[in-house]
Amino acid sequence: MSALGEIVIAVLLVIGGGFGLVGGWGLVRLPDPMTRLHAPTKAATLGVGAVLVASMATMWFRFGILSWHEFLIALFLFLTAPVTGLFIAKAHMHLSWKREELPPPAPGADWATYGDSAAESPMVAALEEPRRSE
């Protein structure tokens, strides 16, 4: 392996490791659920992205093959991370915010957690008093 390849891979690995550690530490240290949501979803995908690029570079510099697996995994992660972040944020908002604090729904519609179908949801029925988790 050339010296240039080694330096590139080592730098990518260190960047990825740093971002991963910041993401995990932010999950523990940040004060309230919304900021805690921000730390891992951004830092962990950047960290994992750097590690995946390092793996691609390893395959290229060591064996001379262009590996597409990492690209697929990174694409999948970048597509799914915002979706999971949105779902978790929505679950948190509807579980622990009061109804007046939620952003207004579309005209003529209601939030699913408060609308007509909410009576069928055992999770919503169990929550008489909305509670904050901060």
Binding site: V14, G23, A44, V48, H69, A91, S133
Partner: protein
């Protein structure tokens, strides 16, 4: 594998291992339900990074399938869990 790459790999392994421990702490001592789901999701993402690092160390492409499986199962389980927390039901 050269000493430089060995050290960088060790550093990355240590970082993601520590991040995994932080997430585990958050899973056990979570102030709310959404934090627990978020910590589990982050554990799956860190596991992807650890598997990829192991693949780099071994110099093989064998672990990509496992990584892909972790990515997909992690995503689907997080969405299902968030839906369950929100509605008490997954498929309505």
């Amino acid at each position: 594998m050269s000493p430089l790459l060995d050290m960088a790999l060790l550093f990355a392994f240590g970082c993601f291992g520590l991040a995994q421990l932080c997430c585990l702490y958050r899973v056990v001592f979570a102030p709310g339900l959404s934090d627990r789901v978020l910590a589990l999701d982050t554990m799956a993402i860190n596991m992807i990074a650890l598997l990829t690092l192991f693949g780099i160390r071994e110099g093989t492409a064998m672990y990509f399938e496992a990584t892909m499986l972790f990515a997909m199962v992690g995503f689907v389980s997080t969405v299902a869990y968030a839906k369950f927390v929100l509605r008490g039901d997954i498929i309505e």
